[in-house]
């Protein structure tokens, strides 16, 4: 690139030309500057840059650096394009950014010698583009950020309450007005959530029961109380592990599926189409899913209890050599109805939480495929967090009740 500094006198003739490299195309710019500027009292500092096109393209980054870093504020830079007959639209856009960024630093960037072809690259130029500032991001101040988040949280709470209201209406009120529960759809969901979840719940619960048993054994054996493994496994499975494991599996398996399915339906306007057909999404989508969860999760929890206890039994009898009949008797003696009820109460609450969270996240998907993905993740995470929180609350309450 060639560049030089031209200082113009009052009448617009340059009286000094400082060159840093080879001589610049010698041009008397006095004829090309508007007459208003030629009459300025202040001498105008002018830098003329002649960008060149190499095999790698226009030397735009060098040009940019030259203009923004090595030019005094208050001066004018003229980019001479006489040697460059054509510009791509990206180059044109880069040059416009240079004008805008230059303006912020008090440098006036101007072009000269644009050919008709090169001018075409600027098609679509409009006033707003030039008035834009370099920093276009709309960052909120921290206070605004907090305010925004709070409002969003309140709105989310409201929508969630609406969903609960909707659920209650379709469950308890609408059936008396001839709009019964959609049992066929509910049954379909029970199959998806419950029946298809049987293998994984059984398998994982069995493992958990076995692991509990092994862990317990290493401690209890020291006191010759290995048979109490039956108590340990039985009580911790029924009260705690079975409901929680089941809830986590269901949240991951079915909660995510519900959110993704409903979210996709929202995005592809299927939910809107349902509404226009007078098929209420609350009745046709929400209630069947929540009901199915309320039915499937406790059933899976019972299954998880059995599988877990069997896991403990298997370890106890096969690996630790406890008597089969002894183990079963010990289990039966240690378990109280209260333990089972505690677990079941928890599982019903977990089912409700998973249902509400996953449907809520599904119905409020915004922004296409990405929105479905984000909400599905959020659905699983929120469900699991809420379930474990609820579990902690319940365990504390039950602890003090007894």
């Amino acid at each position: 690139m060639l560049f030089g500094k031209v200082i113009l006198d009052k009448r617009g003739r340059f009286f000094s030309l400082q060159l840093r490299s080879e001589p610049l195309c010698r041009k008397d710019f006095s004829q090309e500057l508007p007459s208003r500027e030629r009459n300025d009292a202040e001498p105008l500092k002018l830098t003329v840059l002649t960008p060149t096109r190499t095999t790698e393209g226009l030397s735009l980054s060098a040009l940019r650096e030259q203009v923004l870093e090595h030019t005094e504020a208050g001066s004018r830079v003229v980019l001479d394009f006489t040697a460059i007959p054509q510009l791509s639209s990206l180059e044109a856009a880069t040059l416009l950014r240079l004008v805008i960024e230059g303006k912020e630093k008090g440098i006036e960037v101007r072009f000269s010698g644009l050919s008709e072809d090169a001018r075409q690259a600027f098609t679509g130029l409009e006033a707003n583009l030039l008035n834009e500032t370099a920093a276009t991001s709309e960052d909120l101040s921290p206070v605004e950020e907090v305010g925004e988040q709070t409002l969003e949280l309140v709105a989310a709470g409201q929508r969630l309450l609406e969903l609960v209201g909707e659920l209650a209406y379709w469950l308890a009120i609408a059936p008396w007005h001839g709009k019964g529960i959609k049992w066929d759809r509910t049954f379909e969901q029970i199959v998806k959530i419950g029946v298809e979840g049987v293998p994984i719940v059984t398998f994982l619960s069995f493992l958990i029961g076995a692991v509990l048993s092994l862990n317990g054994a290493s401690q209890l054996r020291q006191f010759g109380a290995a048979i109490y493994i039956a108590n340990l496994v039985g009580v911790s499975m029924t009260r705690e592990m079975a409901p929680l494991i089941t809830a986590i599996i269901v949240a991951g398996r079915s909660g995510s599926a519900i959110t993704a399915e409903l979210g996709t339906m929202v995005v592809s306007e299927e939910v809107d189409a349902m509404r226009t057909m007078a098929l209420n999404p609350g009745r046709f989508l929400l209630l069947p899913r929540v009901l199915a969860l309320l039915c499937a999760v406790p059933c899976l929890t019972i299954l998880s209890n059995l599988a877990g206890i069997f896991g403990g039994y298997w370890v106890g009898v096969i690996l630790l050599g406890l008597g089969s009949r002894n183990y079963l008797q010990q289990t039966a003696q240690s378990l109280l109805i209260g333990d089972l009820v505690t677990g079941m109460v928890k599982s019903v609450v977990f089912a409700l939480l998973i249902g509400l969270v996953s449907c809520y996240r599904g119905f409020y998907v915004r922004g296409g495929a990405e929105g479905v993905g984000t909400n599905t993740t959020a659905s699983v995470v929120t469900s699991i967090v809420l379930c474990i929180l609820a579990d902690a609350v319940f365990t504390t309450i039950f602890f003090y009740l007894e």
Binding site: F29, E32, L33, V78, V99, V109, R110, F111, S112, G113, L114, R119, F122, T123, G124, L125, E126, A127, L130, H177, T264, M265, S268, E269, E270, D272, A273, R275, T276, M277, A278, L279, N280
Partner: protein, 268 residues
Amino acid sequence: MTAPVDSTPYVQVENLVARYGNRTILDGVSLTARRGEITVILGASGCGKSTLLRHIVGLLTPASGRVLINGQDIHRVSEDEQEAILRKIGMSFQAGALFNSMTLEDNVALPIIEHLGADQATARTLARMKLALVGLERAASSLPSEISGGMKKRAAVARALALDPELLLFDELSAGLDPVTARELDELVLRLKAQLGVVIIIVTHELSSIQMIADQAIMLHAGKVIAAGPLAEIRAMDQPQVRAFFDRQPRPVTMQRGLLDTLLVDGR
């Protein structure tokens, strides 16, 4: 082929104002549609045509103004009454909005089973008849993901017809269809109008289709009605946006010559 026009308006949109956040999409839009009449909503993309349809069918609540369907304000009636109104409305969406997990036949049969209380077999028969109306009888057992965009659109029309509605709303009915299918749909629409005296409101851009089916039209521009009335009258209007639409004049590309010149030291 003209059906008797019932003079009482079936759809009345009065001074509808619609907002998304701070953006006003519709600004005081009014529209009247009568039985046996086809109303076409015209306008460039993004002028609020679909938003208007969504308000008419009650999917969106207006910021102000009201929508009367057969004399009832669809946004202020009870849930049961709204449902009763909606049962008489059939709507097809731009992209079809078919239930992706169900076959075309089941898509059409769903409202029949739910609202007319028909058994599965009867509903399916009726669904096949509706699909035949739009030439899709062969695709009845396909899933929406297995058919083309144009077929989805036609299936959506069949679903909109499922309950023999009194009011039909079509969003971009013939956009993206091949000329033959588009023409067939236009004729179907004319037949529905003639035989059943249905109220039909269509959003469309297709000039040939507009020419063939429209009784009256309203034209939206930047959220306002800039022309309304019988099609012939609108075609004759001098309003620049109306002219541009019917004469297919492109908007000038915003090459603001003067603006580039301000950046030149050797402007012309």
